[in-house]
Symmetry: D2
Subunit: 318 residues, 4 copies
């Protein structure tokens, strides 16, 4: 367990250079750490498919959750634009139904694109924040992730390792604990893997209904467990290509004014996309069942042109 | 090549009983032919991963295509709800961007759910059309497909087999031709496979820009090549669990008043979801390159509660 | 004060014939009681303009109110589609901003169209409910009101008459009380007038912030004061063309399962549109100041084709 | 008729100082030239009501017009969120219909707010363009116009004066011609009036269907008749508080790259809102009929918080 650093801004400054991947690949390819996924990596991933059991990690798109009422992001609004009742009962023609969807891109299960966060006026690759306008992200949008994010996945089930249903509010998962969890699980994280970290929060919130403690946009953050800044050097060292969590922001949040050091370091400097609101409980149950924590991971989001994020129904196949 | 039957309504009536799967599985499970995907099937599918090359078959979400202007379905409208320019230049707090998406569910690459079409007041399983209201599909929505649609995929590259860039407007692909293509390609379709059929239409339209010939909602259908009604008995016999195409409606359309016999038979009676606007050219090129037409197929759409369809970024891994 | 009738359905049945205007004007003109507004009426209305003071009765369009979070109707979502920050600082071209609006039609200040409610399968004029489909109201939409709703307005300030800030939850305003208020105010309601009834609810809710007691869509109604069923015969007798209120549904609501006898009688049988969420406090203050309760009323909503309601910024000029 | 000036930017620079109203009223009141509407003005306006005939000048909200397909601004999309067909036929409860609207604020008949245009980084009152962000216009939004825009209106029927159905593409209406039209019509424009200028374009386009010549967002402007820059000094001198037109942008446009000198001068320097897509033909017919060109004008838009424009159904009463 890791306490929140008193000065996250200083931490970001300190770690930015060390973790920076801007010159590791072409600065303007928009791919970032997903460059670590090679074709060989996917062959490796395919070897994880042993039972054929499939886990869909996407939170159901519904109008009331997971953002609590009034929290700022619009949950999916689903409306019908055609219905069978439109047709007169005697109609001989075809009868169909059609629908329309309006949603905040970051409302349900999604990836944050590399254009979702900025630091000192720049986003990943040193590209100016001015490239993101009302017309969307002219650079670093979500499309490259949509074309590429299939790899080996590894679950770090921190809640189970700690023997709790859910981590306490505001608790962080640091590098040491992450290493310990992976070791205890007997799984090795290798270059190009996507890492899924389980806090237990989404599952327990579905039971408790305390969504206002799960997510909040606005002047104050929720107080939720998540990945701590000091886990990032480990992820960098291991070559993780993407990280996702069963919470609202991947990183630990401790209420109070917004502060997102993990977003800044991961998206802006490491070029590593963040997956949020992932449903991990069923997958975790299966992993614990046969003590196998790796799987084939098909996590490619919708290819939303200009998107600073992308909705996704991530799939794990074991 | 198969001509359009003069009376599609009669064809539907004739074939409905023969192809009906309502009593093959639980009538109310909402799963339909996806019941054919077993865990063993996915192990089989994983064996198709040999090069690790991945193909994202999703049409980029953009505001102008693929529905031509004025054709009825709203292409994806992407707007920004937060921008880095919102923050004063001197701001010390985190700087991020957020976005929102409004789209017809059936606008870009998507699956039609079993609640998308009706026949004689019923949808798949004999369930009343009245179960689909403004609140969405209370039964047969897209969620079961979202939780399950991962299997072996097979491409039938009809355009390449015919030696053309694209099939002629209105041409149908019948059972005999499909069998012939598969045989010529040296690939066997087995129970539980998803079948992707390539007409060449989406790719050539991207070059020609003639989108008004690709898609149209309204009093008159477009005139496009696609799957003919008489292919359905073969698909039924082979145990195909889902079919997708690089056109707007899977089935062949010949202009004139709306008539969708393949939709009626496939969705209502066979319980087989239809995938539309799939981008198949790059995948086809690779298949032709090493003459291997099967692949691991992760085609699970977004789990849209009540959706009569679901947006998807389908992934083929070879 | 009037108690809620134990059986609203019986009340509707009892009063429907007596109040029915279907054969008073053309059944299919979609105009209903607005037929009572003549050109002479508007001359009469213009005589009410004596000080030139203008009152805009429209609730500000904002994303958080007046529907409380989670109550079902989408408050106005306002997004920017173009911003000055899009332009490079050195740009010589024109610099502008553009925006987009998504809202439930009945979210803020609006009129209910004659197609908003149905009784026994019919709407105003005896027209089948089947005329309202996903394509909107083919009959009785809001457009006729948009073309016509300018007349003399009269305020009945019930809260002030009772000497309270706001009527108690669930209280009804019956015919006798309404007559008494008008008499005490020294104002005569004449044929073709629009009647605005003040309960004090919107104003006090803006202060208290108890919006969940103001409006609710869902299994249970809010418990709010409003117009009682037994006021309708008086309105019919007086020839009121439209009625509006500073509450969520015009009529008194008493919690519990939905029941809307005033909507059924007014919209379906009398053909009288209902105005909801009107801001009446400033107007009421002015009326009380010089004890003049009539005014020129420009209440024409947006001409929304097919709309079963219409957003409006109603204007009273004294 | 006035030719387009070869250098609109120079014209703007030249006229900005002369027409600037920033120090005429409080710079930060957001009201601009609407300060010219006094209560006495509205008494004067009420004297124009002589026949009681009312003209609704709002273009019907519909999904296909007036923006031509693909032109950038989203026409009103109207969807139903509740329908009578949702209720089982035997249902005893209330049966209603509800709807939702999505539209570009500037799509149909609307006012441009003072925050719609910028010049040299500033908007009306010298306020920084940075006050308009994804959260809307923090200053100079449309709300003050919504609370105030009721005054005397005057029509200048330029098309009729010229004896044409519609002015030719790209033609400008200058100060001299405007003065001449008003004189010939025998109407005096006085301080605080709203001026409606008729080119005939909207009416003839409704007949011709040539909407792509009426409106275009994008790299090239349409080629439409409208108000010329050199009319602005006259409007300033006369004390016009708002100007509206039956075209897409009030001002004359001559195709080619975007250039909006009238927007820049009127909105940024004069603080005068612009009304677009006004339907003026029926009003013009009536004015010509009795040669009376002034009327009571209720033109208050929806009070959209943060709106850089506001939808409106403007009403003229004669």
């Amino acid at each position: 367990m890791t306490d929140l650093t008193p000065d996250p801004a200083a931490l970001v400054t300190e770690l930015a250079d060390r973790l920076c991947n801007w010159d590791r690949w072409a600065r303007d390819d928009g791919v970032g750490a997903l460059n670590l996924i090679t074709e060989a990596k996917r062959i490796e991933a395919s070897a994880c498919i042993r039972s054929g059991a499939t886990f869909s990690l996407g939170f159901e798109l519904r109008p009331d959750l997971p953002q609590p009422p009034g929290s700022g992001r619009l949950n999916p609004v689903h409306v019908m634009t055609e219905l069978p009742s439109d047709a007169p009962p005697s109609s001989d023609g075809p009868v169909s139904a059609d629908d329309m969807l309006t949603m905040a891109v970051h409302a349900a299960t999604h990836w944050d694109a590399l254009s979702h966060f900025f630091h000192r006026g720049r986003m990943y690759g040193g590209i100016s924040a001015a490239e993101v306008t009302t017309q969307g992200a002219a650079r670093n949008d979500i499309v490259p992730a949509a074309r590429r994010l299939v790899t080996r996945g590894v679950l770090a089930d921190v809640a189970r390792h700690r023997g709790v249903e859910v981590l306490a509010p505001g608790e962080g998962i640091g590098g040491d604990e992450l290493r310990e969890v992976l070791e205890a699980q007997g799984v090795e994280v290798r270059e190009g893997d996507a890492l899924l970290v389980r806090t237990g929060l989404l599952g327990t919130t579905k039971v408790s209904g305390r969504w206002s403690e799960f997510a909040q946009c606005g002047p104050n953050l929720p107080n939720t467990p998540g990945v701590a800044v000091d886990a990032l050097p480990l992820l960098h060292e291991l070559g993780v290509c993407a990280i996702a969590c069963d919470n609202w922001a991947v990183e630990q949040l401790a209420g109070g004014p917004p502060s997102f050091p993990v977003h800044e370091l991961s998206l802006v400097y490491m070029g590593m996309v963040l997956g949020e609101n992932f449903e991990l409980d069923a997958l975790a149950e299966a992993c614990a069942g046969d003590r196998r924590y790796d799987f084939f991971f098909a996590g490619a989001p919708l290819p939303l042109r200009g998107g600073v994020g992308g909705p996704v129904n991530p799939i794990a196949v074991r």
